[in-house]
């Protein structure tokens, strides 16, 4: 059994590649649905990021520990059980300590179960890797997901509602006095899709090797 150092270059790659060239949203195109639903404001986007981080990293470790004992034919069911258990935990924690945000996120916390990123990473990575790299993969992918969420939510909240974390930025700068108005389209879900599209565009422009045929 070979023993890599904890942060060997291979492990580091597992952690950092989802942030950019292997980003779950812009490159793997997973987890788009939640990116549309909860990015109208920054706060829920960040809470969502941490929820996914918790669920994904822990489920990745658990599945990685169990990987030799899971019969291949029922692996999806086992994975779902683990994810569902984690999601319920996160949901309960949010309800207990961040009730307001939990209400804003409503069903979307429960829907983390169906977030394709989690199933995808369990299936593609945790089933064939040791717990420590699996943990790093979970953290990396959740962070890559979170970065996109936060970028999209930043623009949607700033341009759509004129606030950041609920703080009235635009009003404080005084833009309303010179005739500025909030952009209602930013609040609507299609705009999240367009912003993700623009991010993908910029990313492919900078990294032409990501462009498929």
């Amino acid at each position: 059994m070979s023993s890599d150092p904890l942060f060997s270059s291979k492990n580091l790659k597992v952690l950092t590649s989802p942030l950019n060239e292997d980003n779950p949203i812009t490159v793997q195109v997973l987890g788009i649905c939640s990116a549309l639903a909860i990015t109208a404001k920054l706060e829920p986007a960040i809470v969502m990021t941490f929820s996914v981080l918790a669920v994904l990293s822990v489920s990745n470790v658990v599945i990685s520990l169990l990987r030799s004992y899971i019969p291949p034919r029922i692996r999806i069911i086992v994975q779902l059980t683990v994810i569902a258990a984690m999601v319920i935990l996160v949901d309960q924690v949010l309800k207990a300590f961040a009730y307001e945000v939990s209400k804003q996120l409503s069903v979307y916390v429960g829907l983390i179960i169906t977030n394709c990123i989690i199933m995808g990473r369990l299936e593609a990575f945790a089933m064939t890797n040791k717990p420590w790299p699996a943990f790093l993969d979970g953290v990396g992918n959740a962070a890559g997901y979170g970065i996109i969420l936060v970028i999209v939510a930043f623009f949607r909240e700033l341009l759509g509602a004129g606030t950041l974390f609920g703080y009235p930025v635009i009003e404080k700068i005084g833009l309303y006095n010179i005739g500025y108005e909030n952009n209602g389209l930013m609040i609507l879900p299609p705009m999240a899709l367009m912003l993700v599209g623009i991010i993908i565009w910029i990313q492919r422009k900078r990294k032409p090797e990501l462009i498929e045929d």
Partner: protein, 388 residues
């Protein structure tokens, strides 16, 4: 005009590769081909149709067809302004006032739109396409006169970049760019695209100085509110002396434009006709099941209201975003008309259904074409089989 040609030839080398002003070559090329027919010709081999009617001339025809609507729109802007504030003005004062109000919108439209086009053309190393000449002319005609210019600029940037350039520029866009501008404004700043005051110049800012009892509601808004009795006379709606977006009000001016388009063969009569037919049919259907005064409105009157005529003549017929097959044009136009009236009457959130109907059918145009072509292939295959 010889001196112009000489001048262009003289400065041309500077814009060619290696020249000092190469970075502006897209811009130069756009101006040169705008003024003169390009000197590049198809080779002597192959069966090419050669016609002086290239894309630039086609686009110029549309602009000429739009001029009556624009001129009338300018006068109408002045007319309603002076009416709302109770001032007297003669014809030229009225026109001049409207001209000064509409001109900045046109300038913003061209500067922002062409600026983005030139940047993209330059970075992609192709020439500036003339598609924007028409788009830039259409935009001022379909917005309310009181739209703040910065909103317009943002909407145009949005529409040109996300509605057109990401798909590959002129000829590749799925949605009509001018209508994308309007749709952006409608969803982003709904307060400036509907209501009773944005259609009259100055009414949003100086509401206190209005003539008593003056309402800036468009006929469409009156009808949607169920005040069918408040509708202006048919004559006023035909001539266009009603509040509305700058160029959409005058059915007669639009009709004049339609004749130019049809006479030069630029616009498709099939789309225009079938769109009116679709609207008429939907109006009649709604009459049958009428439960409120708006649904009881005579079907033909719908075709005079709002932007229906303008949409049918100038927007739905856009050769890029409409269907390409002849049968497809009938289907496309008919469904656009049908949907326009359906959205307008049955969905109170969207007072003007024409814009949404055309954009919606733009998305479906390739699908319609696909099935028309498939059906034709099947038909011919069947014929070949029965014969053989």
């Amino acid at each position: 005009m010889k001196f112009l040609r000489n001048f262009i030839d003289k400065i041309k080398p500077g814009f060619q590769e290696g020249g000092k002003l190469y970075m502006f070559h897209s811009f130069f090329d756009a101006i040169e081909t705008f003024l003169y027919v390009p000197d590049t010709v198809t080779g002597p081999r192959g069966a090419h149709i050669r016609d002086a009617m290239d894309m630039k001339r086609t686009m110029m025809m549309v602009i000429i067809a739009l001029v009556p609507s624009l001129l009338f729109g300018m006068w109408n802007v002045g007319h309603w302004h002076f009416l709302a504030f109770g001032e007297d003005a003669d014809f030229w004062q009225t026109f001049w006032f409207g001209f000064l109000k509409v001109l900045p919108i046109i300038v913003v439209s061209y500067v922002v739109g062409l600026g983005i086009e030139i940047i993209f053309a330059q970075s992609r190393k192709h020439e500036v396409n003339e598609g924007y000449f028409v788009t830039g002319f259409l935009i001022p005609l379909i917005v309310p006169v009181d739209t703040p210019l910065w909103m317009l600029a943002i909407a145009i940037a949005f529409a040109v970049v996300l509605g057109k350039e990401v798909f590959g520029g002129t000829g590749m866009n799925i949605l009509n760019p001018a209508l994308t501008v309007r749709a952006f404004l409608f969803f982003a700043y709904p307060g400036w695209m509907s209501g009773d005051s944005v259609w009259i110049e100055g009414m949003t800012k100086n509401a206190g100085m209005l003539v008593d009892g003056f309402s800036g509601a468009t006929p469409l808004a009156e009808a949607a509110a169920g005040n069918v009795a408040n509708l202006p006379s048919i004559m006023d709606m035909l001539i266009g002396i009603v509040p509305g977006s700058i160029g959409e009000t005058s059915v007669i001016a639009i009709f004049a434009g339609a004749i130019i388009l049809l006479w030069t063969g630029v616009g498709s009569w099939k789309i225009m006709l079938s769109m009116f037919a679709g609207g008429l049919l939907m109006g009649l259907t709604l009459n049958l099941f009428a439960v409120n005064p708006y649904m009881e409105l005579p079907a033909w009157e719908h075709l005079l209201l709002g932007g229906f005529a303008f949409g049918a003549v100038f927007m739905a017929t856009d050769p890029v975003t409409a269907t390409q097959t002849e049968k497809g044009k009938w289907i496309y136009g008919f469904l656009t008309g049908l949907l326009a009236i359906l959205i307008r009457v049955l969905n109170p959130a969207y007072p003007e259904g024409v814009m949404l109907a055309i954009l919606f059918m733009n998305v479906f145009a390739p699908l319609i074409d696909h099935y028309v072509v498939e059906a034709n292939i099947k038909k011919r295959l069947k014929r070949a089989q029965t014969k053989g």
